[in-house]
Structures are given as C-alpha cells and as structure tokens.
Amino acid sequence: MSQIELRNICKKFENKRILHHVNLLVQEGEMISLLGPSGCGKTTTLKIIAGLMEPDAGDILFNDTSILNIPVEKRGAIIVFQDYLLFPHLTVEENIEFGLKMAKVKKSKRREKVREMIDLVQLEGHEKKYPKELSGGQKQRVAIARALAIEPKVLLLDEPFSNLDTRLREIMREFICDIQRKFKITMILVTHDKEEALMTSSKIAVMLDGEIKQFGTPKEIYERPVSSLVADFFGEKNYVDGEIKEGIFYSIMGSFQTGLHKNGRVRAMIRPEEIEITPKGNIAGIIKNKTYAGEKIYYIIDCNGKRLKCITNGKTFYNIGEKINVYINFDNIVFFER
C-alpha cells in the first residue's frame, strides 16, 4: 500500500484545460473520494495516477518517490473501470488471473490466488462463465477481484456503482468498504454521487472545472463548504445576501444575531433542512408551495419577500397560504464573503 501525492498536476487536451494545478495527498490505507460533475477531470486524474496518461506538468509520488517514469504496467495503480472492461473472450477465472499471468506467476500460484479471490468476491460456481453471462453486480465483483489479485499499491475506482441499480449499488458500496477495511488498501473513488462520497470515504476532494476546490472530511465538506460552488454540489441551498455588523446579520428577512465577529457584506447559506417550521420561530412566513415526497415534504416559504426552500419530515402538514413561523439558528449558518 502506498501514500499518494499529486503535486501541481496539469493537463490539457487540444488547448482545453482539463486539470489545473491539482494537489492531493492520500494517506496510506486511506479511502478518499474524488467528487465532481461529469467532465470535471476526475477520470483523467485517475488515468494520470495509473500511468495511462501523462500529465503536462506536475509530479506524482508514491511513498514520497516520483513514479512519473514508471510505465503503466509496472506502476501498480489499478483502475476498476466504470464499464468493468472485463475481457469478453476470457472466463471469470481467466479474467481474474490475467494480471498474474502477465507477470508470469506460476500456474499453481495463479490458481491458488484465483480461488482466494473467487471466495472473497463470492462468485463460487461462476468461474467458467463468460462476462456476458454475468449480471452487473457480478461483473463488478470480477473487476474488483481481477484488480485485487495482483495486490495493487493503490486501487482506483472509476464510478464503480454508476451502472448498478439502487439496491445493488448499496450492496456493492458496502462490499467495497469491507474490502478496504480488510486489506487496508489505499483507494481513490471517483464519483459524481455526493451520497456515495459521504458514505464511503474518510476524505472527499471536491473537483470542479479541473481544480480541487476543497479537500476534507465528509463532515467538513458538508457543513463548512469553502464556497457556494462546493456547497451547491451537495444539494439545493438558500442564499440570503446581507451584511454583518458587530455580529448581527442584516438582511431582507430581518436582523439576526450570529456567532461571527467580523463585518462586511456576506451571503448566508441556509440548507433547507436547517429551516424549522415552529410557532416559536424567529421569522414569520407564508407557505407558497408544497410538494409531497413521501417521508419528506418540500415547502417554499415567503419570509418578508425572500423565498426559502424548506424540507420537513412529513409528520406535520401545512397548507399553501398558511401563515407560519420558521426558526433558523444563525449560529450554525455558513457565511460567504461577497
């Protein structure tokens, strides 16, 4: 297992900037997520780490040693591809032993390792099947077994759950986390699914437009995003412009005490789930719209001319046009400077 460090990685395709000074440090045995929308450069980053692409500038270090000159086949950074990329002409066991065969490992050892991997990914009875005879989840398991069989220094997972249905996605997510815990393998998970990133990783690197905008624990990223761009990636937010003077936030909705000791023009980020509809609320409002979604109800509330999105747990119902009070704890609100 290796510690991985990316230093100022840059990459352009036909003058289009794909990666711009990407810096990242993944500790040995850690599982992090590279989270961002499609086309932000996540897969390119993985390919550069694996050696399938060369960066235009910057360096990659495994355990403090540059690996830029090490060719892809010797780098030991194995990608589990989004489309699995199992070899269609090989059976499950032949796919799993592929890397070992290429490394000219003895047949007896290969067989032993394949057996071990088949047990690990619970594919007993499927050894002789071809990829087209497997379900999505089984293909995924074969791809993971094939990667693990060669004992990689780092495992790179490129949107591994995107082709699976919701239930299978949860099972495979848990399965990968188990493997990571069991082997203490350094893993980078590329995903555009915020929940996936929050649930699986010890740290998340939020990537937008080829740059890592924030790198931190899921809690830090979720609760203290460094910008509205990062915040927006984790779902819809309410933004209220205003000004802070001596700890008081002045806005169209009113003035509220905050825990801040700075002055200046700010934009308050209020998550819909942080707005509580309660008679003891500190802001008066009127329900303007309501959307029922089973366990949740989405409301649009007009608070002194500012429309706020609010999510409740669905136990209490409010009607459109009803006058209510909402409570927002401005001590917990994130303020961005304007």
Partner: protein
C-alpha cells in the same frame, strides 16, 4: 405469425427467380455428374464419373495445386493482413492518404491484379527490367520465371496483393471498433504491448480472422480468372480444369466436368459450414466491450 412470414412472402418473387436458376443449375449439374444427360441420350445413373475423376492423376494434381494455392495465399494473407492492421492501429496519427492507400487493392478487379502481376513479374516485366538496369541480372531472361510457373508464384502474388489489404481492412475495423479501453485495462493490469496484442487484441479478432481466412480460402479455391491468366500449363487449378473440360466439344465428356464441379461445390459447402462455426464463435463473445 403473418408478420413473421411477411418479409419472406414479399421477397418470394425475386427469391423464386434466383433460387430456381441456382437450384435448377445445381440439380442439372448433379444429374449430369451421375451420367444423366438426356439431351445426348445418356439416361443411366452411375457413379463411374466420380470414380473416374478420383482415379484421374490430372484431377488429383489439380486438386492438390488448388489447395496449395488457396492455403498458402490465405495463411500468408491473414498473418500479413493482421500485422498490417496492427501497425495501422498503432499509428494513430495516420489519416487520409495512408488510410486510403492500403485499401486500394481491394477495389481493383482480379483481372487487373493479374495484369499487374504479369507486368511486374514476367521475365519481360518491370521487376526484371529494373534488376537488369541495376546490373543485378545480366539479361532479362535471368529473371526467375514467376509467371506461369509450377509453384504458382504469379497467382500467389496477385492473390496476396488483393487479400492482404482485405484482411487488414476487416481486422482493423474490428480493432478500431473495439473499446480502446480494453487495451488500457490490460496495460493497467501489468501487460506490456506485446502481451496486449497476443492476449487481448488477437484472441478478440481471432473469430473474424478465422472467418476471413475461410472467405478468402473459398474464394481462391473456386476463382478462375487469376489462375487462368497467370497459372502454369500443368498442373491447372480445379476451376481452370473444370472450365477447360466444360468447353470440350465432346458432350459425352460433360458428366466428368460436372463431377469436378460437384466436388468443388461440396468443398465450398464444407467451407460454408466452417464459416458458420467461426461466426458462432464471434457471437459467443458477443463483444459487449465494443462501443
């Protein structure tokens, strides 16, 4: 049910014309090969013409020569064609003229290929003149007789000139359409470029290569014009022999000709069966990885 049959019903008129010509020709040929040729009063069914054919040393020589030409040209063409396809695949930056050049021989008719081979390889041809002017040979007659020779060098040259690009074109199309990432996945798993070729690209293209081999083998086995134009006086390839026998003014000779044709047909049917087997192998993989 009607919807299933509808396309066949609609195609019936044209299929009826085509199949009646084909089937009646085949049946007539078969009957004649059995000695039934009522036009000249031969009405007895017999296998004696088949026996005669197999006892005829000339026929066996022709069969051997035809198999030799087809086998050597097909094997060489698939190996060279696959290597050419791989080199084109590796050279990703080639565009335009290079991409077009290797396809040119495919569209040139076989008779023109025969003319080219003659102009190049005959003792009075371009190759001998160049070697003579370079002083490598003392006279044009010193140039080895590659056209009309007993080893079929001229025929092989013409076939290879046509078939290598054909194989390259087919195999290249398979590799180009195959997901590039399969090679990347193999490299990522520790394979070097040579291993990627032997363990991924070649096996995946193998069913296609096999069916291409059968196509060109069947073609060169049954083709007439190139062996007729460039082949030796003896031995002749089977189609040439069959043609010469067919044009024999002695009509009592016709059953013998038809027996040769029936043997050619049987071999072609066997190749068709092999082709189907190769096709089944292709669908076995069912390239889900092609994008």
């Amino acid at each position: 049910m009607y919807n299933k049959l509808k396309p066949y019903i609609m195609l019936t008129p044209v299929l009826a014309v085509i199949s009646s010509v084909f089937i009646s020709g085949l049946v007539m040929g078969f009957l004649q090969s059995l000695g039934h040729f009522s036009v000249i009063g031969m009405k007895q069914f017999t296998f004696k013409y088949y026996k005669e054919v197999f006892m005829d040393r000339g026929f066996l020589e022709s069969l051997k020569f035809s198999l030799y030409i087809s086998f050597v040209s097909s094997v060489t063409a698939v190996i060279a064609g696959a290597l050419l396809a791989y080199s084109i695949l590796q050279n990703k930056h080639n565009k335009g003229i290079e991409q077009l050049l290797y396809k040119l021989p495919v569209i040139v008719p076989h008779s023109v290929a025969a003319l080219l081979a003659y102009n190049m390889l005959a003792q009075s041809g371009i190759a001998s003149r160049i070697l003579y002017h370079m002083g490598i040979i003392n006279a044009q007659t010193d140039f080895p007789s590659l056209v009309f020779d007993k080893n079929g060098a001229g025929i092989l040259f013409a076939y290879l000139w046509k078939e290598i690009p054909f194989v390259a074109m087919v195999v290249y199309a398979i590799w180009r359409n195959m997901n590039d990432q399969l090679s990347e996945a193999a490299l990522n798993l520790g394979a070097n470029k040579r291993q990627v070729f032997w363990h991924v690209l070649l096996p995946l293209a193998m069913p296609t290569i096999a069916s291409t081999f059968i196509i060109i083998f069947a073609f060169s086995f049954g083709a007439f014009e190139i062996p007729y134009l460039l082949g030796p006086t003896a031995p002749k390839t089977l189609p040439v022999k069959a043609y010469i026998e067919y044009t024999n003014p002695d009509l009592t000779h016709r059953p013998y000709t038809m027996a040769i044709n029936m043997i050619l047909t049987l071999i072609s049917l066997f190749l068709l069966w092999l082709y189907n087997k190769a096709f089944q192998l292709i669908s076995k993989y069912n390239h889900e990885s092609r994008t």
